[in-house]
Symmetry: none
Subunit: 186 residues, 4 copies
Amino acid sequence: MAAALDEFASRGYAATRLDDVAKRAGVAKGTIYLHFADKETLFQEIVRAMVVPIVMNIEAPPPGDMPTRQVFDHLARLFVSEVFGTRRRAIVRLMLTEGPRFPALAEFYYREVIERVLAGLRALVARAVARGELRDDTLARLPQLMVTPLIFSVVWNSLFERFAPLDPAALIKAQLDLVFGKETQP
Amino acid sequence: MAAALDEFASRGYAATRLDDVAKRAGVAKGTIYLHFADKETLFQEIVRAMVVPIVMNIEAPPPGDMPTRQVFDHLARLFVSEVFGTRRRAIVRLMLTEGPRFPALAEFYYREVIERVLAGLRALVARAVARGELRDDTLARLPQLMVTPLIFSVVWNSLFERFAPLDPAALIKAQLDLVFGKETQP
Amino acid sequence: MAAALDEFASRGYAATRLDDVAKRAGVAKGTIYLHFADKETLFQEIVRAMVVPIVMNIEAPPPGDMPTRQVFDHLARLFVSEVFGTRRRAIVRLMLTEGPRFPALAEFYYREVIERVLAGLRALVARAVARGELRDDTLARLPQLMVTPLIFSVVWNSLFERFAPLDPAALIKAQLDLVFGKETQP
Amino acid sequence: MAAALDEFASRGYAATRLDDVAKRAGVAKGTIYLHFADKETLFQEIVRAMVVPIVMNIEAPPPGDMPTRQVFDHLARLFVSEVFGTRRRAIVRLMLTEGPRFPALAEFYYREVIERVLAGLRALVARAVARGELRDDTLARLPQLMVTPLIFSVVWNSLFERFAPLDPAALIKAQLDLVFGKETQP
DNA sequence: GATGAATGAGGCTTCATTCAT
DNA sequence: CATGAATGAAGCCTCATTCAT
């Protein structure tokens, strides 16, 4: 699966040859079919299997007294170190680029990841409002605003990293500053 | 080219058959080769040809006395009506999904579109700072923050429109509220 | 189709390679797919196309005054010269050997050929009874008895021709002798 | 071997997978290779092993005073109950359908079964002629005529049983009636 | 003996590309 | 210019066979 992920990530679904996956994994072509019904299943299994762990962290409730801004900072660092900085980033990119052609996968992703992430974000926003850290509830209606910089960073860097690498940590920090007001002590 | 765009947009580059493009265009398969060297060239020509017009608007300098917030509002509306609401949205999505596999195309896109858009955004941010409409210059360093909602909307809707359509106008307005402060009179 | 028939006839359906069919036909492998959806369709189309002409003859009504025995003699000669002695014999053999694995084909064969042949045989038997050429009507209930020697000859020779070729003309003549009584003047 | 016979019988030689044979037999795939060199050998061994018992009965000499017609009746009943009505019918069908592709098997079948059956039939025909039960010796030259209904029944039912099942007992009885004259007391 | 995971040759099928008309 | 039949390389998948355990 690691070999397949690498191939899918670097060539895309359609351009990946199972021959190459097998070669990279150090097995014969037929061996793949002992574990996966076909290329499509292999692809979907990989994404499914690696997508779920990504979401785990956000659901853990934050310590009761931590400022919400700090919670978001923590989550952002988590994303950068555990997703963006790792092979999991490829999973996110594959979802974005291949998802439209795999409706079943997109639905799975939505149910297993997106809905949970959104719910978690909404809960955090509500917490911040309740604690007087946020003035209004626009963000409760559009919690996506808390993660646009993350997705944007993945997209940007997959296309333009060569020309102008974009630091996801800086981008998300700037967004948090917009939301919570500029930090006074960094 | 319109036929090819439709096919590429709905199936992706690799899964598009020139047979289908020809059928949709009402010509014979061979005819395509009278105009384009091969499938790859066809794809790149289409994206190039349709990408350029997208950028035109942003470069026109804004009326001298218009509040910068209004300029951004106008540009956002322009994006929604002229890109998101039209077939051009497919072009943006194709750039995002196929770009990684077409480095030449990504470079072209970066030079012809992204750099110019960024420069335009930077100029607008500088204008806003100069006019006292923005306090600090984080946005001058990361002008991408002004467009993350647009890109995010395209990505989101290409994957999850079925489950939870996301209104790009609302998302960009909320982002502008974050940047400029909540509008008092709409 | 002729090339495919030859290959199917000499190797059976499963063992036939489309590569060989193409080679024998003097075309490229892909060309086959311009005319037939897949190997299975190719096989079925061939059998269908060549099976129908076989049945034509038997349906023509016999001259009013000809002894029924002569009508059968004529049909038997027709079978020997137009089917057994030609490439069409391979069609019959293919139906027998591959039919069980192609239920759709067997049904088609039954509807298009067998039912018609049986009806024709029944009509002839009835005619013979009406003219006093046959005593009882067992054959009207089991008209298959008029063709068992033909089918048997095809089966026998496909297996044992090398060891003991069986003359279908002699076998069917002997059967007709059994049915109508030994011919007095040959 | 029973498992393999079932698989071969229902799918044909080429379409049978050793995986399925092993599964049906409740052993591992490799186990098959402890007993048979390869798939072809397995197939031939099965047919050989089960073909021989079929022929045994016909060679037992008939009771001296039994009318030959009765002997044939008895043999016909034996075929129906011991072959047609049992799994052995599959063996006969496999010989017919796969024989052309296994010349060695066809030869074995001819030597071990056909020749003996033919000899037995000839002896019976000669006995009938000697006893005045048959007028002429056409059947001595073409003893196959005594079994065409049996083979035909197997072929017919393997193809058309769904549409019009054919009773082998009725067919062979009718043929015997043709040969020996209609039975007066059944 | 028995297992069953692994192998890889082989065959079907697709589709970008060509070219005679 | 346009056609579309023909090509054949390329890739997915199957399954008989092997062999370390």
